[in-house]
């Protein structure tokens, strides 16, 4: 069973973030540049929110925001997260239940990465075949 820590191993360590006073435009530019779908919002070294493509798409039609609106007015909080010892299944369950696509990974107080639904699916492509194959090897051995 793959852990979140193992999932992070395949990724770059850098976690991109903005501050609550960063503008929507600045956040979107960072996301475009780094090819990511969400960005955490950090203040005083702590995560205070998360901002995703979906949040932008949903809020843009509310009439309440512009590209210059500070992210603090549009970010989502509190932020769900996982720890490195949780499993890929835990991530799948959280993402499905709450309908989000990104999960920050916290080790104690430290933000050590973000897992996306794409990372999960990519990993499952490999894992799916491996797990079922190894259980079937086991059955085969027992039957002999």
């Amino acid at each position: 069973m793959t852990s979140v820590r193992q999932l992070l191993e395949g990724k770059a360590c850098q976690v991109w973030y903005v501050t609550p006073s960063s503008s929507v435009q600045e956040a979107l530019k960072l996301m475009a540049e780094k090819r990511i779908g969400a960005v955490v919002v950090v203040e005083g070294g702590k995560i205070v929110g998360i901002f995703s493509e979906r949040d932008f798409a949903r809020q843009a039609i509310s009439g309440r925001i512009t590209m210059h609106t500070p992210v603090r007015e549009i970010m989502v909080s509190p932020v769900y997260y996982v720890t490195p010892d949780q499993t890929v299944e835990d991530c799948m369950a959280l993402m499905t239940q709450h309908r989000f696509r990104h999960l920050p990974v916290l080790e104690g107080e430290q933000l050590i990465g973000i897992i996306s639904i794409g990372d999960v699916v990519k990993r499952l492509l490999v894992e799916k075949d491996a797990e079922i194959k190894s259980l079937e090897d086991y059955i085969w051995v027992n039957m002999i």
Binding site: Q25, R58, A60, M92, T96, E136
Partner: protein, 147 residues
Amino acid sequence: MAIVKNLLDNKGRQVWSVTPQTPLRETLKLMAEKNIGAVLVLDEGKIVGIFSERDYARYAASRESLLLDEPVGNFMTRSVYYVSPQHTVEECMALMTAKHIRHLPVLEGDQLVGVISIGDVVKQLLEEKEITIQSLENYIRGRTHTI
């Protein structure tokens, strides 16, 4: 092994669409209302593109504007990957991963019969994982029921 048809049986075959002339404001409202992340763009019943939250976020960033009065046809992705109801869930995973996309229209011949998302795939896998591993483990421990 689950196929796309199984996913559609679970989620339904409803397809939401707009035309290339539909303003972004209306397009985004439809997406918010139906709680979807992408919408197909049809011109006289033919698929001419797909528009997602990602397309919107990327264009708004580069144009530095909310673009709400602009027609979706200016921002849609014109190369639309799709699958058939017989494709396996694994093939969908591979396609989504390779092309970095989260939605796949489902076509049966010429007919649009649904759209599947990466969320639908993960939901299916969550259910499947438990069933497959559990049934194999039951077999190993001799707990299978005979019919």
